[in-house]
């Protein structure tokens, strides 16, 4: 049975179609409108990039109260895999599903460019099939992507292996602390990252490295299905 992805769609989302297309390369996928609360048919949730609810107040601050996000919180609490990309990462942090916060870029400019990432933790369904230390070439495009957490929390995150992805040396585009590009929750089923793997799924885009995260989730979940 193919793995079924659900890609959230808020008013103001703009990367949900690319995310959907990326998911469909490795499994089945459908959009989940922000008012939906039934994720019964979904194996993996993707919270995509964009400007949910206009990013009013703070990026992700309003979206966390969407009915679909309450469903995602329940889904995640039951161990369901959730991937937050860019605005999706901001939403997951605001919702408390991931630690830390995303602040305006250090340079105060919108950054839009290809960056190199390093896989730090393979303890998530999205990175399980990748090797530690592997480099991924993936684009970033954001205004508020500076990852921040207080020092003691950062130490805890590093200790527990919750830093999942780092910008390679010289590639930190926004001033994120400790070059952090992506973090996972304690259990490892929720991952958020600022770069956009869904925009790097075909050599025509300049890189297909991003597909690895979706393929990894499909493989991990597919194996779980086979056992069930």
């Amino acid at each position: 049975m193919p793995v079924r992805f659900g890609v959230l769609q808020f008013p103001g989302s703009c990367d949900e179609r690319d995310a959907l297309a990326a998911c469909r390369r490795v499994g089945e996928a459908r959009l989940v409108w922000h008012e939906e609360t039934d994720l019964g048919d979904i194996d993996v949730v993707v919270v995509p990039g964009g400007f949910s609810y206009g990013d009013y107040l703070r990026a992700g601050a309003i979206a966390r109260f969407a009915p679909a996000m309450e469903a995602v919180a329940r889904f995640a609490a039951e161990g369901g895999p959730v991937l937050g990309i860019c605005n999706g990462f901001q939403v997951l942090c605001e919702a408390g599903l991931l630690p830390g916060a995303l602040l305006p870029n250090e340079g105060l400019r919108f950054v839009c460019r290809q960056v190199e990432l390093e896989v730090v933790s393979t303890d998530t369904p999205f990175t399980a099939e990748l090797e530690r230390g592997r480099r991924l070439s993936v684009p970033v495009k954001h205004m508020s992507g500076r990852y921040f957490a207080p020092e003691p929390l950062l130490d805890e995150l590093e200790e527990r292996g919750q830093v999942a992805l780092r910008y390679a040396p010289g590639h930190n585009p926004n001033g994120s602390v400790r070059d952090i590009a992506g973090v996972r929750n304690r259990d490892g089923n929720v991952l958020g990252l600022m770069p956009h793997p869904e925009h790097a799924v075909d050599e025509l885009f300049g890189s297909a490295d991003g597909l690895g995260l979706f393929a990894s989730a499909a493989a991990t979940l597919g194996a779980a299905h086979a056992l069930a």
């Binding site: 107040l57 703070r58 602040l103 105060l108």
Partner: protein
Amino acid sequence: MPSALAVGTANFFAVKARVLIRPKEGILDPQGKAVERALPALGFEGISHVRVGRLVELEAEDTSRLGELCEQLLANPLVEDYEIVELEGA
């Protein structure tokens, strides 16, 4: 949202309040820095420690839950401090 909070319409019983939200001490505030760097060019000397935050004005029938409102929505307590200033009745 608590139903006690009037939205959009004038309310005789509501109290005006102002919520000031600012980046926590020690957190890099690039907006404040950019403003500060622009000042000497305009002839403003001796101004430092510029921090840029947000101001939210609202009217509330019951101000007892404003702290909760700030914690849950208006501010992100991990990175921002907030201050509630109650003004005269509407």
